[in-house]
Assembly symmetry: C2
Homo-oligomer: 269 residues x 2
Amino acid sequence: MLVFVGLGLYNCADLTLRGLEVLRHADKVYLDTYTSIVPGFSIEVLESLIGKKVVPVDRSILEGRKLINILEEAREKNVALLVPGDPFIATTHISIRLEAEKHGIKTEVVHAPSVISSAISATGLQVYKFGKIVTLVYPDPEIGFYPISSYEVLKDNFNRKLHTFFLLDLREDRKMTIADAVDVLFLLEEKVGDGIISSETLGIGMARIGSPDLILKAGTLEDLKKHDFGPPPHSLIIPGLLHPMEAEALLLLCNANKEMIEKWMKKIK
Amino acid sequence: MLVFVGLGLYNCADLTLRGLEVLRHADKVYLDTYTSIVPGFSIEVLESLIGKKVVPVDRSILEGRKLINILEEAREKNVALLVPGDPFIATTHISIRLEAEKHGIKTEVVHAPSVISSAISATGLQVYKFGKIVTLVYPDPEIGFYPISSYEVLKDNFNRKLHTFFLLDLREDRKMTIADAVDVLFLLEEKVGDGIISSETLGIGMARIGSPDLILKAGTLEDLKKHDFGPPPHSLIIPGLLHPMEAEALLLLCNANKEMIEKWMKKIK
């Protein structure tokens, strides 16, 4: 049996009681170390919590030929794979799950808080008002790559007055910050030029969602670029039409400025 | 301080370690009993887990004048309000949070698994391929009410080849099942007549997500209507264009039929 256990967003205290139980009973525990950042996580704390060694596995193992060894181990034993957030938001893990099922190996999931629901929950925005979600990736001007499709998603959501949730690129060597994301959006506006993004565009910057030191800040993209959000992970929402209760939430929970919100609501209507 | 603690989807084992800690240290614990169903939940188990009494509160208290008593209590003491899933997916709780903040009472959130991320995670569909989410509510033919806007959301998502996630109506006296939802969708097709829904439409029925006895079943709406999903809560996804890995997930995890999936993929293209 291969059980995918969600690790949550901040540290070991985000594990559910069921997750803890599964890890304590597992014959082997692997930890995915590359698809996300869990800022307060310590492997030593986890090991003392569950009373056994945890084996970190990186991309080369999870997406490579060595994966089959883990799958074969799961045929005989109880193997747990710890995944940041709620498992399967990244496609790597669903592909591992499908590979296991194709080999006749039973799989299960233990859910945990995900950035998707937690960010919406934390900002006070309404889940019903979001359009398509997108990951904003770094452009690569050397090969002429610009993430134009992210701009198209924003434009399409914007035309429907829906909010756009941008997950920000996380790579081994660099993690996209809100300031980086604003630069990428400005660059995309320059490239595509449909007038969707300006320095007056309202955004909600979010850093370390689910942690005790989360930062939420609503303001123009220009404001957000200057704001100190601290270390990643960061995410960004560009809101569409705000329900009055959502506008109030931005004031009370995301440190927004009243005139700015009113201006935005007039603009979007 | 008022802390909103997510209860998760199935039973007390969905609490995170942080949630458990907050409840154990709270001076008073309230439990929201009306916005969702947590099928395996027992108040006695919770009370023995946290070593104190839990006070159930229903709509009349959380949305009524008595709310101020809870808020005033939170001014002096550590008060926890337990909410199914991840807090604030229902608008009731965000309105309580804003009310508290306006009264100068500090609030915090402890996240937990939400049906939004868990359902996506469990089915193997990709979070990036969902359009707007919507709650499908019961029509009321007596007053001529039909939830036409849900049909419009489906149509809009469908035109973009995006998946539509339907949360199903939960009331004190009745809980919408997948069979009910299919009937409502057929009725809406009859009323609006834009040709979005037919008995051949592919759907994914989900019952008791996050529980050990969850049921996932992909099939035509006609199939789903006949399928025995057991007790609520139920949810329904109408997929748009499926990525090959998503199609495979429906076969391996949601008990779909290969020809049906191929037919659907041709239809949507």
